[in-house]
Amino acid sequence: MVALINLGYLVSISLFVLGLKLLSSPRTARRGNFLSSAGMLIAVVGTLLEREIVDFRFIIAGLVIGGFLGLLAAYRVKMTAMPQMVGLLNAFGGGASALVALAQFLDHPGFKEAVFQATIAITLFIGMITFTGSVLAFAKLEGWTKESPVVFPGHRLLNGLLLASIVVLSVIHVLNPSSSGMLILIVIFAVSSVLGVTLVLPIGGADMPVVISLLNSYSGMAAAASGFVINNYVLIVSGTLVGVSGLILTNIMCRAMNRSLANVLFGGVGGEAAAIAPGARRSVKGYSAQDAAMTMGNAHSIIVVPGYGLAVAQAQYILHETEEFLRKKGIKVLFAIHPVAGRMPGHMNVLLAEANVSYDLLKDIDQINPEFRNTDVVLVVGANDVINPAAREKGNPLSGMPILNADEAGSVIIIKRSLKPGFAGVDNPLFYEAKTLMVFGDARETLVEILAALKQSV
């Protein structure tokens, strides 16, 4: 029976790997996700056959309750709220791993093996940081707490002290697991919970994509660590895959924002809009939706640059309608998606896919940047920093950040509420260029007007 269960785990691992491999193309991705879930089912059913398991009541109750809540969440969540959803799922994964570690300790009284006790402490630590950190990230994204970074004096020192105390407690625990037992683990549990909060507090709204990715990585590492506790290879492999995935995404997000991970975690920026010098403001001429429609109608090629403001205004659908209309007229339309266009990695692609935009029109920064110079019109909706040419110059917060080369196109139409600078607080010189048409207004209402004007001109 043990051999059979282990064989099942091997199949599960293979299906996870295959599932992730099929995610490399949108054509096969759905099949990949299905295979991955089949792997999970095999792993869980296999575990139910374990000789150790004598009582199924709690297992069934847990599966039913958790399954129902998971189903509910998956079908009710809005696509704009996907970062919150993933944040919450991170929290649950991390929390579950921490609880498993505690339960394992209780189930093996007097078991002094150092590796076992050490991995319990590590799992508790990573699991609880993930749990409380993710819950706070969720609350920030959901607007329950303020998104701006919360920094207080001695903040880093406090985090250092908390971390050091966890290390010391863990060492004490490993050296002498039986006498103090549960008490020390509970203290580690509590201190890690606090550390999760103090780690996420100083991180602002704009940096949330990094945090969500990092916590995603932690939730995987927590699962891997719990695999070391119960000596289970399927946990080690799958947890590690997720841990690595989260790290890669974290790195991509950091590079896209031109920030180091240390800077995001300890910088306490992102979210505060730095004031620009009032004298530096130049005046700018506002154009009407009709002007924009005329420019677009005469173009042969258009690149749309969407930002999160598009989703805030719920303008994806009207944008898709406009795109379809233009393409029917024989105008080439592509979408340029900056890595930080949404509020988590790949978020903007999901929002546009939901609005029925065909995925082969969605181009990432490396694919689209060479195209701008041969493009007639760029339409910018709800984006700012990602097209700010100031990033190419030295000495401002955006310096060095990879941007979309919108300024290389023939003309640029920017739909925006006001001249307010983006998250980085840097004024955008593109607004004042002769080729730029600033159309002030709500993204959705303005696009409705533009589409109406386009239809009239036919």
Partner: protein, 96 residues
């Protein structure tokens, strides 16, 4: 047990390399489904939770196990379903 740890470490390191080569191939287009889908995979801790909930070794550890099963199941079921919901939306061509 030391032998076991060594095997576990071997597996861990190999998984790190596999992960890097697999995940680097996922296009930015699919990074959100990648996150939610891999998130569901990290719910694999459900395996450990099931063992704790069913081992019947003590009331407290069984209750902790139950809570862990609930959390991990939300993670697994919610993660896979929401990923599928998203991936269904990715279509080529403009018609529904």
């Amino acid at each position: 047990m030391t032998g076991n740890l060594l095997v576990s470490l071997y597996i861990f390191i190999l998984a790190v390399f596999t992960g890097f080569s697999l995940i680097s191939r996922v296009p930015t287009l699919l990074h959100t489904p990648l996150m939610s889908g891999s998130n569901a995979i990290s719910g694999i801790t459900l395996v450990g939770a099931v063992i704790s909930a069913g081992a019947g070794k003590g009331r407290l550890s069984a209750v902790l196990g139950l809570l862990a099963v609930i959390l991990a199941t939300i993670n697994v079921v919610g993660g896979y379903l929401v990923t599928d919901r998203m991936l269904r939306m990715f279509r080529k061509g403009s018609k529904r």
